[in-house]
């Protein structure tokens, strides 16, 4: 038992979910079974683009214990509500199939193997249409998928005047074209959901990041009131963005099946379905031009960004926005223009994935910065330090950085670590002779929280309460998807209340029990929601103390007050709403102003060894310094940084999603590979703390930033090792071999 006044912030207490997870007792959605529960499957399109004429259920098959659902069973508006009303829950008869593996029908039944067998007895009649399968084809607009130009959304960001003159006056111009491919989140738990209906109300439990997104989508699809939809999160086996928007689709499916079958229905995707059909990181093409003067300063930038959005709008405009806003990086540049557009194609929709557009544009600018240093003959680290944004400097959107800038600190920390002996006992490259080695560096920043005034619109709410048993509860819709949200909320609430962490429980998110604290995305959970938890805990404490005073109790012992209140009066809750810090203004029309309330800063150094015979790359060293404001739980923060770093290294060197005619060709863990413990280097992680005055205890986001920069550091290291330019992600051995031969890269 810890004394009141003790701070748990900054200490690595045991994770609140640790015991359940290591012992196998944590209950994930596939571990849940309900009486009479049926197993569902999704019938998916077999073409990338076409008109659905008919769905034929083989009359010779015994359908007696199988329930089937098609779009005809949808009585309300047939779309999955998100940003636009364009994506149907099931393609209607006569409607357009917009991508391969798009849901067209659903089936369920009591016997899983019979349901599987039934899948082979469903036929689709489709008139195929020409498909748009690449960014180039979409821009050519010979086939229109969206509007009159296939552009879902476009943004322009400009600063300064006379861009052409600035380039004309520049002493050097650095020009490059960068392509980054799709990336699969590859959470180890596939998507899954269970629905049941009870007295006209819909109950859904599953693997998800954002319960209220699903809540909203179900209300719209079934025309239900708030209280008639209850969404609860099961323990969730990873998300990384992949369980941000797609779960609403899956929820719609289980709900439709459960409604028609009159029984609970569960759908768990198998791995091949998950990889083939759910969202991935957007492929992206960036053309990047920098003008430099003879003093080694950046004087102009001209950036053209095109994302492949896939078949529906989903969250793509927001991804585009973040990509555009990050495309100049943490560097000063007086004159610039960034044009970004999100294109429609007939591939499964691309969506949220850690970094949300920023890793793509970061790859481009950090390659450009490296090339600029080369052109100038400057040390790449020196060049970055000279051009970096500092306190008081102005970003690309004209935001003046007033606090919490760690651009120099992260660089110095990385360089200091690089001076030290590398960790011993690393996994060595397979080749022993003629190995080519190189070192690469990258510096970047990531806006924490929603863009601009997004948080004001969102108005995230959290309650902290004493329940009837006298225990403290944190009630928020922010999910723990492994990132440690519940542990961090416990620490913040316990510290504020002055009680032990053991006395605080975070309620498993359930829309009936918790207010909407906003989605679990955008590195906002600790910085924004953690802040609301702190405010709510404070509010509750004051209320308890007021109660104590009125009863003449010792107001120093909050735990005793809580127990007394629970016994005498019952539950007591304090709910509060997020208030943005003052002075944040962003103009969505002109793209000028304070793009983000604050930024996290990071630098990464990578040493690579390239096998001269096979072009296989071993990452021998990866030093990553990341500024998080305040590490509320250092081990959780370290885990976030390292997990993100490894996903970034994976994206850089091993991971690719292969498409043919709009269909994923490698939908399995065997072929759509992610790194194993043997690919992972001994990660050297440095936590930097440059406090953000408006975050809880100074904390800002950490979830996404480690994903942004390592890929560029790898490419820069490869250029150092091999003397050629590597501008495509992933940098597979095949690609490296081709670049070395001077072929296309």
């Amino acid at each position: 038992m810890t004394k009141p006044g003790h701070s748990f912030v900054g200490h690595s207490v045991n994770r609140v979910d640790g015991h359940a997870k290591v012992s196998g007792r944590a209950i994930y959605v596939d571990d849940i079974s309900m009486p009479g529960m049926l197993h569902g499957r999704t019938v998916r399109s077999k073409v990338a683009h076409g008109t659905l004429k008919d769905i034929v259920f083989d009359a010779a098959f015994d359908w007696s214990d199988i329930t089937t659902v098609t779009a005809k069973d949808i009585t309300g508006p047939n779309f999955v509500a998100l940003m636009e009303e364009d994506q149907p829950a099931l393609v209607p008869m006569g409607g357009k199939i917009m991508h391969h593996d798009e849901p067209v029908a659903l089936i369920c039944g009591p016997d899983k193997s019979k349901v599987d067998a039934a899948m082979a007895h469903i036929d689709q009649q489709v008139d195929e249409l020409p498909a748009v399968l690449s960014i180039d084809e979409s821009r050519a607009a010979n086939t229109l998928l969206y509007g009159d130009d296939n552009i879902f959304k476009a943004y322009t960001l400009e600063k300064g005047e006379g861009l052409d003159e600035a380039f004309a006056a520049a002493d050097h111009i650095v020009e490059g074209e960068y392509f980054t491919g799709a990336q699969e989140q590859m959470y180890i738990e596939t998507q899954g959901m269970i629905a049941h209906w009870q007295d006209e109300s819909l109950h859904i439990t599953g693997s998800m990041q954002c319960p209220y997104y699903i809540h909203n989508a179900m209300k719209s699809l079934f025309g239900l009131e708030d209280e008639a939809v209850v969404i609860s999160q099961a323990v969730t086996g990873g998300g990384f963005g992949g369980k941000e928007e797609y779960p609403s689709m899956l929820a719609a499916h289980v709900a439709l099946l459960a409604k028609k079958a009159g029984a609970p229905v569960k759908i768990i995707y198998d791995r091949s379905e998950d990889v083939a059909a759910t969202t991935k990181r957007h492929p992206c093409l960036v053309k990047h031009r920098l003008g430099l003067n003879a003093h080694g300063e950046i004087v102009a930038a001209d950036v053209d960004i095109t994302f492949d959005g896939g078949a529906y709008v989903t969250l793509s405009p927001v991804v585009l926005s973040r990509g555009v806003l990050h495309s100049i990086g943490p560097y000063k540049c007086p004159t610039l223009r960034v044009v970004g557009r999100m294109m429609a194609t007939n591939t499964p929709p691309h969506g949220a994935y850690r970094g949300f557009g920023a890793p793509q544009t970061t790859f481009a600018y950090e390659r450009q910065i490296d090339k600029a240093a080369r052109v100038l003959g400057m040390d790449p680290v020196e060049f970055r330090l000279r051009n970096r944004l500092n306190l008081g400097d102005e970003t690309a959107t004209g935001q003046i950085l007033k606090n919490s800038v760690a651009s120099e600190k992260v660089v110095r920390e990385v360089m200091a670590q690089a001076e030290k002996e590398p960790p011993n006992d690393i996994c060595m490259p397979k080749a022993v002779q003629d190995v080519k080695r190189g070192r690469g560096f990258a510096l970047y920043y990531h806006g924490a929280g929603f863009t601009g005034s997004g948080e004001d619109r969102l108005k995230g709410r959290v309650a902290v309460a004493v329940n009837k048993q006298g225990e403290f509860e944190v009630r928020s819709a922010s999910t723990d998807i492994g990132q440690g949200a519940f542990t961090i909320f416990t620490q913040i609430a316990a510290t504020t209340l002055g009680v032990d962490v053991a006395n605080v429980k975070v309620v498993q998110p359930n829309t009936k029990m918790v207010p909407d604290s906003g989605p679990t995305v955008a590195s906002r959970t600790c910085m924004v929601v953690g802040g609301i938890v702190e405010q709510a805990a404070n509010g509750l404490k004051e209320k308890l103390q007021a109660y104590g005073e009125s009863k003449g109790l010792d107001c120093g012992d909050v735990l005793a007050l809580a127990e007394a209140h629970a016994k005498d009066v019952g539950e007591l809750a304090f709910e509060t709403t997020y208030k943005s810090p003052p002075g944040i203004h962003f103009d969505d029309q002109t793209y000028r102003g304070d793009a983000y309330p604050c930024y996290g800063w990071a630098a990464c150094l990578v040493d690579v060894a390239v096998d001269p015979d096979t072009y296989e790359v071993t990452v021998e060293r990866c030093i990553h310094a990341v500024d998080v404001g305040k590490a509320v739980h250092p081990i959780i923060v370290k885990g976030q940084i390292e997990g993100g770093t490894m996903q970034a290294l994976g994206w850089a060197l091993w991971e690719s999603v292969l498409y043919k005619n709009g269909k994923v060709m490698n939908p399995s863990m065997t072929d759509c590979i992610i790194p194993t413990a043997m690919e992972a280097p001994e990660l050297e992680t440095i936590i930097v703390e440059e406090p953000y005055p408006h975050g809880p205890h100074g904390a800002k986001g950490v979830g996404e930033i480690p994903m942004d920069g390592p890929a560029a550091a790898v490419a820069n290291a490869l250029q150092d090792a091999l003397g050629k330019s590597f501008d495509v992600v992933p940098m597979l051995p095949e690609t490296i071999a081709e670049v070395l031969k001077g072929g296309p890269a």
């Binding site: 599987d116 015979d613 590979i673 194993t676 051995p733 095949e734």
Partner: protein, 281 residues
């Protein structure tokens, strides 16, 4: 319900095999169970996993024999194997990861006979023989080169089972080289693998075996390339000539794991590396 037979002796297993040619023999099931529920189901199974008579490793009259149902994990632990055939140990150590090695068997690798079966190029380069048996016709020793017939096809008759794999011990001075180029370091399917076993007499190539996987429909020895080297002094020109021949002798393809161009180039690079090393050894 499918029939499931668990013979306790090799004799019983062979009888079962003869009586039910349509039943699938199974061992560690690391191939059989992948995608199992999506495939046509055999009417029955003959379980060989743990059948003691076809497990274990022994040395006799200049050979080392490995029982077909010996798991990779057990092979790795055996000093006889890693001392005599380091390439086989190396290859096995890179198969899947521990959980796969505890179940997968050499017999299974030969049974599946996949172009990416990692032990096959090693067995080819080591001149292994496959001991197969039938209850009616007795046993026969099939040279590995004849055992591998084509894409996922081997020379096993309907009533036969693989009993053991026999490898002749190599004379003093024989060098062995192995390299698997996979999609990653563990749990990886090969893009290409190569095994070279060779011995020089002075500068001259006295013995040479070069075998590859994932460069054609089935793992293969490149006999034309071997012929370029056999009896020749191992100079830079001979090595270049061997690389040239190799490039025309293999027929790799583009697939989800790699490209034909890459496979060819890397095969030639590795051959150069191994031969240079052999020459310098």
């Amino acid at each position: 319900m499918a029939d499931f037979l668990q013979p306790q002796t090799l004799h019983a297993a062979l009888e079962a095999r003869a009586a039910h040619p349509d039943y699938l023999p199974i061992a560690g099931c690391t191939d059989v169970m992948v995608g199992f529920s999506h495939q046509a189901q055999p009417t029955g199974f003959i379980d060989l996993f743990g059948l003691a008579e076809i497990q274990g490793i022994c040395a006799d009259d200049g050979h080392i024999s490995i029982g077909a149902a010996t798991t990779y994990g057990d092979i790795l632990k055996d000093p006889l194997v890693y001392e005599s055939f380091p390439v086989l140990s190396e290859a096995i150590r890179e198969i899947g990861a521990v959980q796969i090695q505890e179940r997968g068997t050499l017999g299974g690798n030969l049974g599946t006979c996949s172009p990416v079966g990692d032990t096959l190029p090693v067995l080819l380069a080591l001149d292994a023989q496959v001991h197969v048996a039938s209850s009616k016709r007795g046993s026969r020793l099939v040279p590995i080169n004849d055992f591998i017939v084509g894409y996922r096809k081997n020379a096993l008759a309907e009533d036969e089972l693989i009993v053991e794999i026999k490898m002749p011990l190599a004379p003093e001075g024989t060098q062995q080289y192995w390299r698997k180029v996979g999609t990653r370091r563990a749990q990886s399917i090969s893009k290409l693998m190569m095994c070279v076993v060779g011995r020089l007499n002075g500068k001259d190539v006295e013995h040479i075996r070069i075998a590859l996987g994932a460069v054609a429909a089935a793992p293969m020895r490149v006999e034309k390339t071997e012929a370029v080297l056999a009896g020749q002094a191992l100079h830079e020109e001979t090595i270049l000539a061997a690389q040239d021949t190799l490039a025309s002798e293999i027929t790799p393809i583009d697939d989800v794991r790699s490209s034909a161009v890459y496979r060819k180039e890397v095969a030639c690079n590795l051959l150069g590396r191994f031969l240079n090393d052999l020459g310098g050894a």
